[in-house]
């Protein structure tokens, strides 16, 4: 995935260099400034690649002259009144929706915007190619085949039993055959195939030795298995009813996590947003450009869930046959473990990524952390709490300050690196009833 990411970056760079070489008038303009103007004024209705309320602007400089574009953008209504055929056609093609006038933009500004669009246009196709790669993480996360391991362990065990039985059988048959021990001096086959040192060992000791080696290995495997695989769903990335991409929303568009997961700083649950949160944007953002003028099938799912008719005016209430979306829960804590988002997001000020990983890069969200108790506890042992800026910790803070003033380097509130820090663990964060009740 990272390789592809780098590749797309270099391709983009190459594109820019190519563009710079080709066109002279753009040279004077600054695509970077253009992007800012674009984001501030145009992006609410237009995408470069995607259709918003207005058409996608990809390669618009190829379709229209710069002069026409300047006039259109500054005041399209005036342009239409002059009877400009192109202007009227654009107006009619887009359902007669009115684009506001941007009289405040200078020629230079508009040219910068056009430069930006020109620069961005070639990237539209590439973006699509990136998508399939995102599934790699999911494949990696699949669980190992436990049944196979267990069967192997069983086979090993049975083999041992078989060897022991064979040994017993030999002894018994030796007794029955009434041969002298000398006659039986010839070693059995399994001794003969063993290396010298082992073959000279007492068979009983040898058996015990072998069994304990296997036993130890088995125990280690079993412990690891029990601790890290049973009930641990790290990497769990189920298909969701709507293929919502965190990469597009949190990554590409940089939407803040808490815009949608708005209760993370005040509730135990970060909460999956209600669909009307989606509709704040998706009433107008429909990604038609990607689907040949049709609304994206994923966005259509939102509309279907709300029984919303996109052809209706935007301020109309939703329909009467809603079908709530049944998302598949990814992070499942057991019932006996209490977790509160606001404690971590609001009080501790942790970034979401600390536990959830680079969600903004995930096309499909997966469980990033193990969510085992050991994982929780480790973090509580290591992470400092901010006792200075929260009056709740006032007394604790005073005590820490006094302790450091008194004991200096030997203060118990210092971590191994000499940093003064009160960890969550020092303040009772390792106790049972902080999470279990």
């Amino acid at each position: 995935m990272t390789v592809l990411h780098h590749l797309s970056k270099s391709l983009r760079l190459a594109g820019i260099i190519l563009l710079l070489g080709q066109t002279s008038w753009i040279y004077a303009q600054d695509p970077k400034a253009g992007k800012e103007i674009f984001d501030a004024n145009c992006a609410s209705c237009h995408g470069v690649c995607n259709r918003g309320a207005g058409p996608a602007l990809k390669d618009v400089s190829n379709r229209r002259t710069e002069d026409w574009l300047l006039k259109w953008i500054r005041n399209n209504e005036q342009l239409r009144k002059t009877g400009d055929a192109q202007a009227l056609q654009v107006f009619n093609d887009n359902g007669g929706s009115i684009m506001p006038a941007f009289a405040g933009l200078s020629d230079g500004d508009i040219k910068s915007v056009l430069a930006y669009i020109k620069e961005e246009s070639p990237n539209c196709d590439k973006k699509k190619t990136v998508v399939p790669g995102a599934d790699d993480a999911n494949k990696k996360a699949e669980s190992p085949d436990a049944t196979l391991y267990i069967l192997l362990a069983l086979i090993g065990l049975f083999l041992l039993v078989f060897l022991l039985l064979a040994r017993v059988k030999n002894t018994l048959s030796r007794l029955i055959s009434e041969k002298t021990p000398e006659e039986l001096q010839a070693s059995p086959w399994y001794v003969r195939i063993l290396p010298g040192a082992l073959s000279r060992m007492n068979p009983v000791v040898l058996t015990m030795f072998t069994v304990s080696i296997f036993g130890l290995l088995g125990f280690v495997w079993f412990y690891d298995f029990g601790m890290n695989y049973i009930g641990v769903q790290k990497g769990y990335a189920p298909d969701q009813p709507i293929n919502f991409s965190h990469k597009i929303h949190a990554g590409d568009y940089g939407i803040d996590c808490k815009y949608c997961h708005s209760t993370a700083d005040k509730s135990k649950s970060a909460s999956i947003p209600a669909l009307n949160t989606c509709m704040n944007c998706h009433k107008s953002v429909q990604a038609r450009d990607k689907y040949e003028g049709e609304i994206s099938p994923e966005i259509k799912k939102i509309y279907a869930a709300l029984d919303y008719d996109p052809e209706k005016p935007a301020n109309e209430a939703y329909g009467k046959n809603p079908r709530p979306v049944k998302w598949v829960r990814i992070h499942n804590l057991p019932d006996h473990a209490y977790f509160n988002h606001s404690q971590h997001v609001n009080v501790a000020g942790l970034a979401c990524q600390k536990c959830h990983g680079p969600v903004e890069k995930m096309e499909k969200v997966q469980q990033w952390s193990a969510l085992t108790m050991g994982w929780c506890i480790n973090c509580h042992r290591e992470t400092g709490i901010d006792v200075e800026h929260n009056d709740y910790y006032e007394k604790l803070h005073e005590k820490v300050k006094a302790d450091i003033a008194k004991n200096g380097e030997k203060s118990k509130y210092k971590d191994p690196n000499g940093r003064v820090v009160v960890t969550a663990g020092m303040n009772g964060g390792l106790e049972c009833s902080k999470c279990h009740y």
């Binding site: 979306v325 006996h336 009833s433």
Partner: protein, 1058 residues
Amino acid sequence: MAPSVKYWKGEEELVKDPSFIAAQKNEFADDLPLAEVLEESDFELNSSRRDFLKYFGFSVTAVSLAACFKAPVRKAIPYLVKPEEITPGVALYYSSTCGSCTVACGVEVKTREGRPIKIDGSSRSNISQGGLCAVGQAGILSLYDNERLANPLKSGGKAEWAAIDDDVVKGLSGIAAAGGRIVIISNTIHSPSTLKAIADFKTKYPTAEHIQWDAVSYSGILQANKSDFGKAVIPSYNFDKAKVIVSFGADFLGTWISPVEFTKGYVKNRIPQEGQEMSRHIQFESNLSLTGSNADLRFPMKASREGVYLTTLYNYIAQAKGGKQIPAATQGELAGNSIKQTADALLANPGAGLVVSGSNDARLQSIVNGINLLLGNIGTTVDMDNYSKQFQGDDVAMDAAVKDIQDGKISAAIFYGVNPVYSHRDGKKFGEAIGKLKLSVSFASGNDETAKLCGFVCPDNHYLESWGDAEPKVGQYHFIQPVISPVFNTRQAQVSLLTWSVGITAPEKDPLADKQIMNQKFETSPYYTYMQNAWRERMGADGFDAKFNTALHDGVWTAPGVAATVPAYATDLSSFGSYIDALPKDNALDLVLYQKVGMRDGEHANNPWLHEMPDPISKVCWDNYVSLPKSLAEEQGIKLGDTVNITAGGVTYNNVPALVQPGQANGTVGLALGYGRTAAGKVGGSKEKSVDSVGVNAFPMVQNGAQYIVHGVTITKGEDSYTLAQTQTHHTIEGRNHVREASFADWKKNKKAGNDEPKPHMYTVWQTPEYRRQGATNHFWAMAIDLNACTGCGACVVSCSIENNVPIVGRKEIILRREMTWIRIDRYYAFPNDGKVINAEHERYEGKFLTKEKGIAELDAAVGKEKGAAYSHYENVRVVHQPMMCQHCGQAPCETVCPVLATTHSTEGLNQMTYNRCIGTKYCGNNCPYKVRRFNWYRFNNNSNFDYHFNNELGKMVINPDVTVRTRGVMEKCSFCVQKIQEGKLKAKRERRTVKDGEVKTACQRTCPANAIVFGDLNDDQSEISKLYRNERGFFVLEELNVQSSVKYLTKIRNTEA
């Protein structure tokens, strides 16, 4: 004085019953119920024990391990349109009014994600004043009762609302046109809007009458006040203003009129404070009631003779005041000249006494009025101007209606909030007569005894699904707002009434519609508009919306009160002499019918929490029984586990469980109303579902004129034996010194009275934990319980169970001592030490109680049976209530014995119980000196053997999502509501401030009507708890064990002289 009183919890302890001794040795009643466990639905192994062990071979383990991989796929379904005020994971509170009885306490309802999960008292309400009783607490489960009617019924079959409306309107119109009488029989209604709806109904159908009738009547008071003062009202009783409280059989702390309000007032003068007199509470009664158990002086009396004693009291007072006496030939005095003493105490506190009577005899209530009037109490402690509207039932009108229905003089009846077929004394005949009606409608929410016989059942919403208002006291309005949309296809009774009369329409503009909320689910009830219009008239249109919304938000709206006055008195008591003389003088037995604190009138008989809650006095769960005095039991040879045959008022019940009840007055027996339901449901009993009734129905024994005292009952020993589920001797603490009490007189001399035993020297091998040191930076959570305030009402028990998802185990398991409640209220009895003294005239006996040294045999011997005062020491027991829960010991014995560290100590002083670590050795339970640990013998949820709320989808809605539902095989115990502590701390942290005192309240503390429980942070020097810990009355139970308990009890002080 060091307390050397011998306390005991039950007779079996007193006489050292072998089964009791054996049980005492074992913390847990039985071995593992392996057979039953294996029979549980999730454990489908039909095999012998040997086979069972075989299954535990390696291969099964391996395969089951492999199966662990398949974690179930769990779904998360967010809102489509999230209501603005809801934050998933954060509780939302609404003000409302409790609808469990007609007292109408203001409540706060806690909801999570749109479902109500807890009800607590609202401090804005003058009725509840922040507390709530057990019945109110348990009311939440009635909402999630899956036996409520899901649809309206027509002739017993499911029907559509529209069809029913058509039929009912046609029927009513026809009857009204023909001049036929229509009656609406309801319980007390003081809701102004409902009364308006009924008035509208009467306008439409002029032949309609409205009769109010309560299953348990207070009409005696109403009638007396009507004849004495010209006002048929129940006054407000101001217990907080009373220095001397005298009650004749009125259980005002438990069941009488408005117990939460009365408890709040009562305790105000019950906490001994420097320079302030404690109130003195004197109780005369037959059954040992909750109120009697809290009295300073309690005198057993024969209920049928109450009139005589009241007359005597009246005459003493009249004599002193120079008034006219009642010319009765019979005068009565009770042991220890108690009537005279009571008169003296009352006379010493003119205008600050309060005499109440539980009798429903209007003449006795008139004498009570006379006493209060002579003493100047009317206008101070008895407020006739700001009167109560909580009970207005008219028995005379009801009896007439019952007769008229039987005679076919009434054509249509609508039953609203009443179940007369069950709870009227003529219920059976009445039920037969319902068939004669042309139209019968019931608004019952379940298919109860009356509803079953009605042509139409139009199920009413639960109050948590309804709009409404209430006026429990004149001028004090309370509001009801829905906190959940109706669970079933039910309709508010008011809407039904209005639909059939004036018609009712949905609000013109739905207030929720413009919020883009899908309107098919969130329809605002049409009754909202109706109610709003009614209130617009009352509040005035000017700024109405804001005023109305504020009132809804607060849950209360109070019109300015009026000053209490002394109304003119119109009765001549001198005519009462002959009536008093005619009261029965013979020695025949009295039966006193009473309400239990949990079950009350039986309306909530299908609520398992109310059955599971032990009766505050007898500690019996899940049953009704005849309580007998020791003398009668001895006479008839009745012992614990026997039954009796009882005949009273022409009704006979055979083989009713019997209980020898200390404190029961000689010559009287008691039986509770509210049991024996035959159409309540799977919990309370249902013929249809072949579920046996819990107990017997005592309503048919009620006497004419709703008299609850039956004279001349016969009791014989029954043939059967029966085991009552009685928790009194479970978890006993083997006669150690765990309750302390002293008299007020001693306390005035020595603030440590009763609590001044020299402290034993303590040794410890443990270090003082950080939180117990000076200048600790963290919290030190602790609790204080004032034994003086605690009345033992049991509200905390129910509240705790709801908050902490404590399972209900049922009668069978309680008999095996497997109840799960985290908090229990230990009730201790103590004997007076000398039987002879009690019966001697002019002598006082209080304070002289049986010591540990003096044996029961000696005492029994000292009591002269020949004097006709047999076993009077049993009659005169003294009672102490002591709530007991995990003491969160600093050096906890349970922690040191846990082999897996499942129970450990926190840095904030909590004894933590970690369910997921527990392997169920039960060592901790065995080692706990307070016996507060509970073991999950079964998985109580999803288990068909425990078919209560944990076992169905709807019932599970009441589960608190912040508390783990425990599984089989783990220990549990009081956690000090750690989820509430954590929530309070987190809120403070989020707001970057310290935790405020009083911010974290445990569930028991939150509901306590007596403010007996205080919880807080001991490391906060200014906190309420720190102050209480400095109180000299404080002691720790079993302090000598040096377990460093975190629950401090305050010595009980009784206002007695010795």
